[in-house]
Symmetry: C2
Subunit: 203 residues, 2 copies
DNA sequence: TAGATTGTTAATCGATTAACAATC
DNA sequence: TAGATTGTTAATCGATTAACAATC
């Protein structure tokens, strides 16, 4: 199969979110023009994306909401469990630790870490904040492959180095720092301000 | 001038961030291949982007760090003050209220709001949490055009409606909900899990 | 000079949009 | 039936990459 582009995956995730809402409202069918209007996009794009994972659209009525939702979940592997540790127990780390929607995507938080003594031992969402010294052990025991990096920028690179030594494969980077990492490590840089700038540029 | 694509703006913001680091380290010149390696991209892309705002590259040495940084700032209007209110004083709202980097981009937080009595009056980063009933007044007085939405998903749409009535033009949506808004309102949907999924898909 | 780099054009690549027959 | 929608191909559009002369 041809490799999926990031954009397709992102769009499928958006459809999936809308479909969850429709399921909740008890709507049985939804058409590509309907989805397109919600997302302000082209309806043939929607159909093309959906065809990647779902072959049962019905003329005149559209797609069966529950079936399509399930097919997107399978296609994107949303039900597969992915274990992650959160490093940095500041407000952002706490916010992500409490983020209920992660579990809809199979993302399971296996630990929450900080090097600040005053934070260690705090309990958030049933999880206790551990010291950085326990990082290796927890990553090893839980087989977590993902690290969510929410530390202050000045320590971002050094913490990333530690994570890589502890065998983390994916770093979800919420700091504004561009990390230097070996090629085999995937970094998802959550460039907040960069994402937002295009919206206010020139307006 | 032709309209800039989002991608170009995002890349310029990334160069800008790297240039800040170089300024701090006292590096005077940086070349397009150097920047390209850091960001794992093509060097001719870097040159093309830079040419949009800076015409003084030097053969053999590259670009003057300080000058290029300044030119990107002017080009993207980073020094122009943009006023925003944060609605939702949970962990994420607090994290963003404390986010020091916003001011590098001219984003000024003019207020922090919540409808939870126990949060109203709390002080964060020199700012006091106000009740939602004060939203209209503060938006009017500060002329804030931007709202950063960090409320729970179930109230996201109704709070967005309030914001639009209060004359907000841009909504930076950190909830997982796709908002329905009139055409003249710009929504930047910070689709966290959607951004991350492409990185772990199939791996 | 030799070699590294910019500025710039041309070629390629991929993503989006338009169009429409087939379907119910 | 008439009309709305899917599935799918073709056309368009835009973004990325390759290539290289000019520069210092």
């Amino acid at each position: 199969m041809t490799k999926l582009s990031s954009k397709v995956i992102q769009r499928l995730a958006l459809y999936h979110g809308l479909l969850s809402d429709y399921v909740e409202k008890g709507v049985a069918f939804v058409s590509s023009p309907q989805l397109a209007v919600m997302l302000k996009m082209d309806d043939s794009q929607v159909r093309k994306d959906i065809l990647l994972c779902h072959k049962q659209g019905k003329s005149k009525v559209g797609y069966a909401v529950a079936d399509l939702k399930r097919d997107i979940e399978r296609f994107l592997g949303l039900k597969k469990t992915k274990r992650a540790v959160i490093v940095g127990a500041g407000n952002l780390g706490f916010a992500l630790a409490k983020y209920a929607d992660f579990k809809d995507y199979g993302l399971e938080i296996a630990g929450l870490f900080d090097d600040d003594e005053s934070k260690i031992g705090q309990v958030i969402n049933g999880m206790t904040v551990s010291g950085i010294q326990d990082l290796d052990k927890v990553i090893y025991e839980t087989e977590a492959q993902i690290a969510i990096l929410t530390v202050p920028r000045r320590v971002a690179q050094s913490v990333a180095d530690k994570l890589i030594k502890a065998n983390i494969r994916f770093i979800w980077n919420f700091t504004p720092t561009v990390l230097s990492v070996p090629d085999e490590i995937d970094v998802c840089h959550e460039n907040l301000m960069g994402n937002f700038l295009p919206f206010i540029y020139d307006k």
